[in-house]
């Protein structure tokens, strides 16, 4: 049980994230097929497999996040590539100089990543996007709690946020073209975001 996110824990996060994405690739693509174009699983699998291949042994969290961001941007394509890319690039900026992030430091870092997604994609909560999982994940963090607990709470909030996208009518991304027909399905990006945060909680737990 880690009490700070250092390069080792973060590397473990990405490995678990890649494993989940690979295992759930078909499921994510199916979600995307229902209200998008059916490639979200394949996009992320391509991206996270490239991340694992590229990662090596980064000197600090900033380099690690930057590598992840650049790799996702260079391999994912689609909407989620630049969005998850920005997520990690903004976290890289926020951790500049730190060797490890404890429960007190992490909220600022995750918030910076989510702000990067919002800055790129201009989505608001309720638009039925990954922001609907990411924003609650930030809000649920507790700087005073043990790291494992706050990450578990954050992951649970992300999962609930993802589930809460089901009834929403999409206003951003491909699903928005469907109008009312987009309701009744979970958002694929919110679902993958919840998976990422669950992998983080596991890696640190």
């Amino acid at each position: 049980m880690a009490d700070a996110l250092d390069v080792a824990v973060l590397t473990e996060w990405l490995k678990r994230a890649a494993a989940t994405i690979n295992a759930r690739q078909a499921y994510l693509s199916e979600l995307d097929a229902a209200i998008g174009d059916g490639d979200h699983g394949a996009n992320l699998a391509r991206g996270f497999n490239a991340v694992i291949a590229k990662l090596g042994t980064p000197a600090d969290p900033a380099i690690l996040f930057k590598t992840v961001g650049m790799t996702l941007i260079g391999t994912v394509g689609g909407a989620s590539g630049p969005l998850y890319g920005s997520f990690f690039l903004e976290m890289a900026k926020a951790v500049q100089g730190s060797a490890a992030l404890d429960a007190a430091a992490w909220p600022r870092v995750l918030a910076a990543g989510v702000a990067g997604v919002v800055a790129r994609g201009k989505a608001e909560p309720g638009d039925k996007t990954m922001v609907d999982a990411l924003a609650p994940a930030v809000a649920a963090l507790n700087a005073a709690a043990p790291l494992a607990d706050t990450l578990a709470a954050s992951a649970a909030a992300a999962r609930q946020g993802a589930e809460a996208t089901v009834p929403m009518i999409a206003r951003k991304g491909r699903a928005s073209y469907l109008g009312e027909r987009s309701a009744g399905h979970p958002d694929p990006g919110a679902t993958s975001s919840a998976m990422l945060l669950a992998a983080l909680a596991e890696a640190a737990g």
Partner: protein
């Protein structure tokens, strides 16, 4: 899934290799990252036009690379926008010193990836402009949404801007022309069958024998609504009515009428739709000054059609008529 492919993850690379082998004098293929440039790129002193998007829409965009149209195209994975490094590499490869215009279809993925690439290119000192095409009237436009998709109007914008670029237009006036085309063009599409993305292996939606999907995009996604199968004349009405109302097109307007196939619909059917659309345009008082009929912006093997109507100016007509020498659109050269 019945396709003439070897493996889902080889589709794009092998199709690009085949394209390069088939058109050696016209285009050059770059790999890692993938992009296609016209054989004589960069053209000194000419503004370069770069477009791109997911694969699966062939001939768009790679088939439109060549003299008088695009300088480069960036193909992503099937139905997945290209990455910024592709767009950046293509932008640098075709820059002839007069700047580069990105013609982008309005999809979040395309827009974000092209934006990132443009930012990077600008950091490297290149002069880059961008126009986002959003001609699909099936989608309600709004400040709060992703907005309308870019569909058939993209092909027309690429040809017209390509003609103007060849004639020496500078980046600002080219961007203005492209914005004018964007403002003057409307499209609407409909599917008789879904299509199957190779790595998914089954269609994104299923249509019954007497159903059509109305208001589709070009990514095999479901459309605005499911309706019953109608005769071609009625289909043309259903597509033309919202198009005509939207701009709106007015009696006396000269238009380019583009009847596009989604990939699996043969020419004989497209001509039947064209006949009906042409008649509707005529009844509406429009003059169909130019026409295009064929499979130009497709969704893999989807059966269906889209109609695009562009209100023409004299300048647009001149640039449309100008010589073009690409794998899939060619005249006067």
């Amino acid at each position: 899934m019945k396709k003439l492919i070897n493996a889902p993850d080889k589709v794009v690379d092998e199709a690009l290799a085949g394209m390069a082998a088939a058109h050696p004098g016209l285009i050059t293929l770059h790999t890692e990252p993938n992009f296609i440039v016209r054989a004589d790129a960069p053209v000194r002193g000419k503004v370069a036009l770069v477009s791109g998007g997911g694969s699966g829409h062939e001939p768009m965009h790679g088939g439109f690379v060549g003299r008088g149209m695009l300088d480069a195209a960036c193909p992503g994975a099937v139905f997945t926008s290209p990455t910024p490094d592709q767009v950046l590499a293509a932008t640098k490869a075709v820059d002839g010193g007069a700047g580069v215009l990105h013609i982008v279809k309005n999809y979040t993925g395309d827009v974000l990836n092209f934006e990132m690439a443009a930012d990077l290119a600008k950091e490297e000192g290149l002069d880059v402009g961008a126009v986002v095409i959003d001609d699909d009237v099936a989608v309600q436009d709004s400040l709060y949404t992703a907005g309308r998709r870019g569909v058939g109007g993209t092909v027309l914008a690429e040809k017209i801007c390509g003609g103007a670029a060849e004639a020496g237009a500078d980046l600002a006036s080219l961007a203005a022309l492209c914005a004018e085309v964007k403002a003057s063009v409307r499209s609407m599409g409909l599917a008789l069958t879904a299509c199957t993305v190779p790595h998914i292996g089954k269609p994104n939606f299923a249509l019954g024998e007497d159903e059509m999907e109305f208001g589709i995009g070009i990514h095999g996604e479901p459309g605005r609504k499911r309706v019953t199968l109608e005769p071609a004349d009625r289909v043309a009405e259903m597509l033309m009515a919202p198009i005509l109302a939207d701009l709106p097109f007015k009696p006396g307007d000269r238009v380019l009428l583009f009847v596009n196939g989604m990939g699996g619909t043969p020419l004989i059917e497209l001509y039947i739709v064209f006949r009906a659309a042409h008649e509707i345009a005529r009844r509406h008082g429009l003059t169909v000054a130019r026409s295009l009929v064929g499979n130009y912006i497709t969704s893999l093997e989807m059966a269906g059609t889209s109609i695009t109507l562009l209100r023409l100016t004299d300048a647009m007509i001149a640039h449309w008529d100008a010589p073009v020498l690409t794998p899939s659109l060619r005249w006067g050269a």
